[in-house]
C-alpha cells in the first residue's frame, strides 16, 4: 500500500495513561491533524518506559521514538516523570554519543488539556525525523559488520 508514496518515517510514541494519552485523545476530539505514521503505545506512567523498549523500536525499524508524560510536578503517581526525566536524559545522551542523531529521540510533557500541544509536538517531531531520513544506524549497530 505504501509502495507508491514517498518515504515517511515510522514513529513510536509512548504516552502515559493519565496526561499524555488523554492529551492525544483530546487532539483527536478536536480533529487536530498529525501524520498517520505516529503510533501510540499506552503505558501507565512515563516511568514505565524501559530504555529497552526504545532500543527495540529502533532496532525493529522505528525512525523516531518520543515519550510523552505529565508535566513535572503533575505526575499521577507524584514522582514517576522525575525518574523518567533522568533516565531519558542519560539514555539520549548515550545514544547521541554512539552516533544516533539526537533528533530521533524526544521527551515532551503533555497534559490532558494540551491536545493542541500534542498535535503540534507530533507534527514537529515527524518533521524533524523526516529531515534526518531513515534510521539505519541502530538496526545496524551490531557486533558483526
Amino acid at each position: 500500500m505504501s509502495m507508491n508514496r514517498e518515504w515517511t518515517p515510522n514513529i513510536v510514541a509512548f504516552c502515559c495513561n493519565w496526561c499524555s494519552y488523554a492529551g492525544a485523545d483530546l487532539a483527536g476530539s478536536g480533529r487536530m491533524n498529525y501524520p498517520a505514521n505516529v503510533k501510540i503505545i499506552r503505558i501507565p506512567c512515563s516511568c514505565r518506559l524501559n530504555p529497552m523498549f526504545i532500543l527495540r523500536a529502533f532496532q525493529r525499524g522505528a525512525d523516531g521514538v518520543i515519550l510523552c508524560g505529565c508535566h513535572p510536578g503533575d505526575c499521577h503517581y507524584s514522582t514517576g516523570n522525575y525518574y523518567a526525566r533522568r533516565r531519558m536524559t542519560v539514555l539520549f545522551s548515550l545514544l547521541d554519543y554512539m552516533g544516533i542523531e539526537r533528533g530521533r529521540t524526544r521527551v515532551e510533557w503533555v497534559s490532558a488539556a494540551e491536545g493542541a500541544k500534542f498535535a503540534a509536538t507530533m507534527n514537529d517531531f515527524v518533521k524533524t525525523v523526516t529531515e534526518l531520513g531513515e534510521n539505519k544506524k541502530l538496526g545496524d549497530l551490531r557486533c558483526k559488520k
Binding site: D25, R31, A36, K39, N50, M52, R56, A57, Y77
Partner: protein, 663 residues
C-alpha cells in the same frame, strides 16, 4: 495459543468515514491467533455487546480486541461485557482507532493502514495477556487523627458522627492547638475560646472519640485499611483517671521557674501545671525538667496535697499498639523563631513581640489578664508598630525566612490593629505591609474597616531597622507610596512572623511515607482534584500541615478529609489495583533499588528459600504489597534484571506492541 476475537466498531461514521472498517476486520483475520473478526456500527450498544458475548461463547475466545474509541471511554464497558460472557476482564484490549486514528487523519487509505497496525499491536499485546484478579484487603474501621488542634478535632468529630471510632493523638498535654491560644478570630471578631472549647468538650464526650493526649506516634506499619500504629504516651506523672483537675497541686508547687508554653513563655508556671483553664483532658502534668522531686528526690508537695491520690512519680512512658484503617495528619504549625530577625531588635527588647505573643497579651486569660501593657515595664503603650511578612516571601537562597506567603498574617494583623484601636483609642497604630492580601469572604471589608473606621495607619513598605533608644523603640522604614523614609518612636513592635509546619511533621512524613515539599508541608495527591489526600493511600491531610490556611479553611478541609475517611471506612474491603508490580523471585537480586523509587513504599524484602538453576538457598527477595502498589512501573525500569514486572503492562506485552508497530 490464544483464541482471539477482533471487533471493529464503525462508531457510526466517526470511524467508518476515514477507516475502511471491513478491510480492517478482514486484514486482522490473517493475524496469528485471531479466530474471529467482524465489524459493527456501534460496538458499545447493547446489540454490539451481545455480538461480542455470542462470539466469545461460540468460538471459545480467550481474549478480545475491540477496535473503537479511546480505552478511556469504553474499556470498562467492554471489560464488563467480557466478564458477562465468562472471560477475565483483563483479557480485553482496545485499539484506539477513533481519537488516535479516524479523527485525525483525512485519507482513507492512510487511516485504514494505521488502524490495521494499531489493531495488530493490540492483538500482539493480547497474546501476552494473562487473566488478572484484583486482590482485596479488609478495612479496620477505626481512624487515627494525629494532632488535636481545630483541624484534628473537626475531622475526628465528623468521622465519629458517622459512627466510626477515632483516636486523636496530641503531643501536648491538652487538645486545642494554636486556636486555643488565640484571643479573637477574624473577620467576625468572635472570641476564639468561645467557639473552640465547646468543640473540645464535644470531642471529649463523644463515645466514639478517644483522646490520647501527651502522646506521639512512635512507629507505623501497614497500608491503607490496615495500619498498625504504636503510640508513645509520655509519662505525665499524674494518673489521668484519678486527677480531677482541681488545680491545688499547681498552686502549691514551690518551683516557679518553668516557662508557660501556652502563654508563649511570657510568664512562669509551676513544675506541675494545667496548660489552661479549659484544657482537655483537664488533668495536670508534671514537667520533669522543673520538678524538684523528679530532679532531686526532695519535695513531693503535690503528692501530699492531692486528695485524689493522682500523683505518681513512678509513671513511665507507655506504648499503645492499635490498628487503624485511615490516618489523618493534622499536625498544624508553629510561628518561626523570630530571634533570627534581630534587625527588628527581637532579641534586644522584650517590647518587640511576635503576633502570637501579642495574642496572649491581649487575651483576658493571658499573662497580663488582657491589659495591653509593655512586657518590659508593664506600662501602657501609646505608639504600636506592626510589621508584616517577617520571614514570609523570602527567596530560597536568602539566609533566613520562608519562600511562601503565610497567608493569615495580613488578616490577623488587621485584627490586632483594630482590637487595639477599639479598646484603646489613645494608641496610635502603624502597620508596615508589602501587600495587603485579603482574598476571602468579608476579608477585604474587614481590612478596610481597620483603615477607615479605626484609623489604623497602613504604610506600604517594610521596616529596615528597629533600634532600642532608651525606653522607646526607634522604627525606621520605607513609605513607598510617599517616597520617603519614615521614623517612628514606638512603645511596642509586633512582628507578624511567618508560620511553618510543626517540627514533628518531617519525621512523621517519613514514618507514613507521605511525601512532603521542601518546606515540610505535606503534599496532596493532586493539587486541584485531590487536595485532602496524601499520595500515600489511606493518609489524609487536614489543616496547616498541608499548607498555610485560616480557621474557616482549616475546618472546611477537616470536614473534607473526614468525608474521605468515612468513604474509606464504610467499605468492608478494598479492591486493589489489578495491574500491580510483581517480582520474579528467580531473577530478583534483592538489591533494593526498586524500593527506592517506589512512591508508595509498597516494596519490602524478605528472606526466601529459592530453588532456581542459577541459585539454591535463602536469598533476599523483593515483595510487592498489592494493596499499596498503584502500578506506575517505576520499579520495573530500575530493576536491571527485569525481575520486577508490571501486570497488565509487562515487558513482553509492551515489547510485542513495539514489534507489531515496527513490523
Amino acid at each position: 495459543m490464544q483464541k482471539i476475537g477482533v471487533f471493529v466498531c464503525w462508531c457510526g461514521s466517526n470511524i467508518a468515514a476515514t477507516v475502511d472498517v471491513k478491510a480492517v476486520a478482514e486484514a486482522l483475520k490473517s493475524e496469528a491467533g485471531v479466530v474471529f473478526s467482524t465489524d459493527y456500527q456501534y460496538m458499545c450498544s447493547e446489540n454490539g455487546q451481545a455480538m461480542i458475548r455470542q462470539a466469545i461463547r461460540e468460538h471459545g475466545l480467550t481474549g478480545i480486541v475491540v477496535c473503537s474509541c479511546s480505552p478511556r471511554m469504553h474499556e470498562a464497558t467492554f471489560r464488563k461485557t467480557a466478564v458477562s460472557a465468562g472471560l477475565n476482564p483483563y483479557m480485553v484490549e482496545i485499539a484506539n482507532i477513533r481519537e488516535q486514528c479516524s479523527w485525525i487523519h483525512k485519507d482513507m487509505a492512510e487511516g485504514t493502514e494505521k488502524a490495521i497496525v494499531l489493531a495488530r499491536a493490540a492483538v500482539a499485546k493480547l497474546h501476552k495477556n494473562a487473566p488478572l484478579t484484583a486482590g482485596t484487603s479488609p478495612v479496620t474501621k477505626r481512624a487515627l487523627v494525629i494532632g488535636g488542634g481545630i483541624a484534628g478535632i473537626q475531622t475526628a468529630l465528623d468521622v465519629a458522627d458517622a459512627g466510626f471510632e477515632v483516636d486523636i493523638v496530641e503531643k501536648a498535654p491538652t487538645i486545642g492547638g494554636r486556636m486555643a491560644q488565640l484571643d479573637k478570630t477574624f473577620p467576625t471578631l468572635d472570641c476564639s475560646a468561645c467557639i473552640l472549647t465547646p468543640k473540645m468538650v464535644e470531642a471529649a464526650q463523644h463515645e466514639k472519640i478517644n483522646i490520647i493526649s501527651y502522646a506521639e506516634l512512635d512507629s507505623l506499619s501497614g497500608f491503607v485499611g490496615n495500619f498498625t500504629a504504636t503510640i508513645r504516651k509520655k509519662a505525665r506523672y499524674i494518673d489521668e483517671d484519678k486527677c480531677t483537675g482541681c488545680g491545688v497541686c499547681t498552686e502549691k508547687c514551690p518551683s516557679r521557674k518553668g516557662l508557660d508554653d501556652f502563654n508563649m513563655k511570657l510568664n512562669k508556671r509551676g513544675a506541675v501545671y494545667i496548660p489552661f483553664a479549659q484544657a482537655i483532658p483537664n488533668v495536670a502534668v508534671i514537667d520533669p525538667e522543673q520538678c524538684l522531686k523528679l530532679r532531686t528526690g526532695k519535695c513531693g508537695l503535690c503528692q501530699k496535697v492531692c486528695s485524689a491520690k493522682a500523683v505518681n512519680f513512678e509513671q513511665k512512658d507507655e506504648l499503645i499498639e492499635r490498628q487503624y484503617g485511615a490516618i489523618v495528619v493534622a499536625t498544624g504549625f508553629k510561628p518561626i523563631d523570630a530571634s533570627a530577625f534581630n534587625e527588628y531588635a527581637y532579641n534586644d527588647s522584650p517590647d518587640v513581640v511576635t503576633s502570637l505573643e501579642f495574642e496572649r497579651i491581649m487575651n483576658a486569660a493571658g499573662p497580663t489578664k488582657g491589659q495591653l501593657v509593655r512586657p518590659s515595664d508593664r506600662e501602657h503603650p501609646h505608639e504600636i508598630v506592626f510589621i508584616q511578612c517577617v520571614g514570609s516571601r523570602c527567596t530560597e537562597d536568602a539566609e533566613k525566612g520562608k519562600p511562601y506567603c503565610s497567608k493569615i498574617c495580613c488578616m490577623y494583623t488587621a485584627k490586632h490593629a483594630m482590637l487595639v484601636r477599639e479598646k484603646y483609642p489613645d494608641v496610635n497604630v502603624h502597620v508596615f505591609y508589602i501587600d495587603a492580601r485579603t482574598p476571602g469572604k468579608n476579608f477585604d471589608e474587614f481590612y478596610r474597616r481597620a483603615v477607615e473606621q479605626y484609623g489604623v495607619d497602613y504604610i506600604k513598605g517594610m521596616v529596615g531597622k528597629v533600634s532600642v533608644e532608651g525606653k522607646k523603640l526607634h522604627v525606621q522604614g520605607s513609605d513607598l507610596l510617599n517616597g520617603e523614609q519614615v521614623h517612628i518612636n514606638a512603645d511596642m513592635v509586633v512582628l507578624a512572623t511567618a508560620i511553618e509546619p510543626d517540627p514533628t511533621a518531617r519525621a512523621l512524613g517519613t514514618m507514613l511515607t507521605a511525601s512532603m515539599d521542601t518546606n515540610d508541608f505535606f503534599t496532596e495527591a493532586h493539587p486541584k482534584l485531590r487536595p485532602v489526600e496524601s499520595p500515600t493511600a489511606g493518609v489524609f491531610l487536614s489543616g496547616v500541615a498541608q499548607g498555610p490556611k485560616d480557621i474557616p479553611e482549616t475546618v472546611a478541609q477537616a470536614g473534607a478529609a473526614a468525608a474521605k475517611v468515612i468513604g474509606l471506612l464504610c467499605k468492608n474491603e478494598l479492591t486493589c489495583n489489578a495491574c500491580v508490580a510483581h517480582a520474579n523471585e528467580a531473577a530478583c537480586n534483592g538489591c533494593s533499588q526498586c524500593e527506592r523509587v517506589c512512591p508508595y513504599g509498597a516494596i519490602s524484602y524478605e528472606e526466601r528459600e529459592i530453588r532456581s538453576p542459577e541459585f539454591r538457598g535463602v536469598r533476599r527477595i523483593a515483595v510487592v504489597n498489592e494493596a499499596v502498589c498503584q502500578g506506575c512501573g517505576a520499579c520495573t525500569v530500575t530493576c536491571p534484571s527485569a525481575a520486577m514486572d508490571l501486570k497488565g503492562f509487562t515487558n513482553s506485552q509492551i515489547m510485542s506492541e513495539v514489534d507489531a508497530i515496527c513490523r
